[in-house]
């Protein structure tokens, strides 16, 4: 089995279905479902409950107060420090991902409010080279935390990433240290950091910033872990439980505080952030 189960919601992008079609077929249960109902249901299949993919802007739309989002993503794009090329040159991989997603890289950060409570929000995009963290994503996360410190707001990161951006080599690996260091400054400044782990939160992102939340919440259906299932099975020939690295697995072993359905995430964050307003 691949590291990332080919779950339907990774592949169903509502924005990409031809506009004239009113119906879509859920690849999980096979039911024909009314597209508008899917949208109204937070991109969750109304028939079987499978989570479909959300773009960062869709996710932001579901979470924050209407009109409150102010994009502060820095105007930077990936460089190619290693002049890397595998089956495709890295620069081409980046420009393809940019064309496909309309994003500069795998994250959007901005100021917003949830139920009137101010925060800085970062949302990762798995569509963009697996949501991988290279120099740009690392810098944006640090920029978000620094903005949070300047404004004295909490920081919420919604992770959706396979890990480090391999094409940037050690530069990517060191983003784990960079984001962790800035996270340390946030703690010293007494500002809360809520880490939301969505599908998937793994590798170098799980082993750095995403695991350093004061509170860690998994979105239902998340995959959470360091080494991929395939890697473990090939290295150790080990039988793995069926719920390995699922939200339930992470919860059972104490790696996260709570598992929250997508439809309840806004209320969850609103009540959670409320505690910290009182504390200050």
């Amino acid at each position: 089995m691949p590291i990332f189960k080919e779950k339907d919601y990774l592949r169903v992008d509502l924005g990409k279905e031809p506009d004239e079609s009113l119906w879509m077929k859920c690849k999980s249960c096979g039911e024909l479902v009314f597209k508008r109902r899917v949208r109204e249901n937070n991109n969750i299949c109304p028939s079987c409950g499978e989570y479909f993919f959300l773009t960062p802007m869709e996710r932001i739309g579901l979470l924050v107060d209407e009109g409150s989002f102010e994009d502060i993503t820095k105007p930077i794009v990936a460089d190619d420090p290693l002049v890397f090329s595998d089956r495709k040159p890295y620069v081409e991989r980046v420009s393809d991902a940019q064309a496909e997603t309309g994003m500069d890289d795998a994250i959007v950060v901005g100021r917003a409010t949830i139920s009137g409570l101010p925060l800085v929000l970062g949302v990762m995009d798995f569509r963009f080279i697996g949501g991988s963290m290279g120099s740009v994503v690392g810098e944006q996360i640090c920029h978000a935390m620094e903005t949070a410190m300047e404004d004295r707001r909490p920081f919420v990161l919604i992770a959706s990433s396979g890990g480090a951006r391999l094409q940037e080599g050690l530069f990517s690996l060191l983003q784990m240290a960079k984001t962790s260091a800035v996270r340390g400054r946030m703690a010293e400044a007494g500002l809360p950091f809520v880490s939301v782990m969505a599908y998937p939160t793994s590798g170098g992102v799980q082993a750095s910033i995403a695991s350093l939340g004061d509170i860690i919440i998994a979105e239902r259906g998340a995959l959470i872990g360091f080494a991929g299932r395939r890697v473990i099975q090939s290295a150790m020939t080990q039988e793995l439980p069926s719920h390995f690295q699922s939200d339930a697995f992470a919860f059972e072993h104490g790696a996260i505080d709570r598992v929250v359905g997508r439809e309840k995430m806004r209320d969850e964050l609103s009540s959670l952030l409320g505690f910290f307003v009182e504390a200050r």
Binding site: P75, I76, V77, A78, D79, P81, L82, F84, D86, R87, S135, V136, G138, E139, C142, A164, L166, Q167, E168, G169, L170, F171, S172, L173, L174, Q175, M176, A177, K178, S180, A181, V182, R183, G184, R185, E188, G203, G204, A207, S208, I209, A210, S211, L212, G225, F226, A227, V231, I232, A235, M236, Q238, L240, P241, F244, Q245, F249, H253, G254, A255
Partner: protein
């Protein structure tokens, strides 16, 4: 490496001649000297132009000195500490107090096993959550008493297994990155063999990062990169080149601070020489760092990591 085998055969031949020389009283010293000179020339030629993949193999060489070899050679009175105080003791990572000349230090090292038995006991140098937590505990101890920290990296990567995931290995690595980024004592890291991804970085956030000449440090192993990026497990040589994982390249890229030379053939050809060079380097680097107040030290380290990364601005001068 077939070429390496040729050198080994030649070396054995010289030994044989030497012993004949001693036992039979025949003077073969001229012959021995001639062969030794030839051996040295061949070795220099072979190792002058290693490919990156050959260097990976050298970094993993079964005879390569491991952390304990350097600890014994460089420090006095190594006093090993065990256990993470929660769950167990991970033998893939050794931690302890030691003397470097006249100063007390805390040393951490990832230790591969030499014998089959020891390899199993030490999980081939693949560190588990218990090991990272022990490392963190030892570093906090160092901070409490103002002891500098020296870490020796040598791991294929963090341990990939069910138990490690159950014990949240990702979280354990993350906690170390956080702790090291603000630790109020000097940290010097040396990659002595394999620097395997997050499993290496978890003891590698430092004020000075050194590599032995034939060590490698990479975000992913060339074998895994071949599978994931090239979809072809046989293209690890190409992957090794692309990853820029050698000490020389990483120094050029400004990601490490120095390289400790190895003799031709690799560190295992002369442990004493490499250990002596490494010791000089450690003393020098700690001397530089000792001049800084703890708050300055932490600030300089913070700025170093805050600045790491290469990207292009899309506004302004372009």
């Amino acid at each position: 490496m077939s070429d390496e085998r040729t050198l080994d055969l030649l070396e054995a031949k010289i030994e044989e001649l030497r012993s004949l020389n001693a036992t039979d009283g025949i003077d073969l010293s001229k012959e021995v000297a001639r062969l030794e000179k030839k051996l040295e020339t061949l070795r220099q030629e072979l190792y002058a132009n290693l490919t990156d993949w050959e260097r990976v193999k050298l970094a993993r060489h079964p005879k390569r000195p491991y952390a304990m070899d350097y600890i014994d050679a460089i420090f006095n009175g190594f006093y090993e500490l065990h256990g993470d105080r929660i769950d167990g003791d991970d033998r893939s990572l050794v931690a302890g107090l030691a003397h470097l000349d006249d100063q007390t230090i805390v040393v951490l090292g990832q230790q591969k096993g030499r014998s089959t038995e020891e390899k199993k006991e030490r999980f081939f140098g693949m560190t588990r959550p218990q090991g990272y937590r022990k490392a963190r505990r030892a570093m906090l101890l160092a901070e409490r008493f103002g002891f500098p920290v020296i870490t020796l990296i040598d791991t294929p990567g963090a341990y990939p297994g069910l138990e490690a995931e159950e014990a949240n290995i990702g979280g354990a690595i993350a906690e170390n990155l956080l702790a090291m980024s603000a630790l109020r004592v000097p940290i010097v890291t040396v990659v002595i063999g394999e620097g395997g991804s997050g499993g290496a970085l978890a003891i590698g956030v430092a004020d000075r990062i050194l590599m032995l000449e034939n060590a490698v440090y990479t975000v992913i192993s060339p074998e895994s990169a071949a599978v994931i990026l090239w979809k072809d497990k046989d293209r690890m040589k190409e992957a090794a080149e692309a990853l820029n994982l050698t000490a020389g390249r990483l120094l050029e890229l400004g990601l490490i601070d120095g390289i400790v030379p190895e003799p031709a053939g690799g560190a295992h050809k002369d442990l004493d020489q490499v250990a002596a060079a490494l010791k000089i380097e450690l003393v020098k680097r700690l001397g530089e760092l000792r001049k800084l107040e703890p708050s300055e030290l932490v600030e300089v380290r913070y700025q170093r990591y805050r600045a790491v990364g290469m990207y292009r601005d899309t506004q302004g001068t372009e």
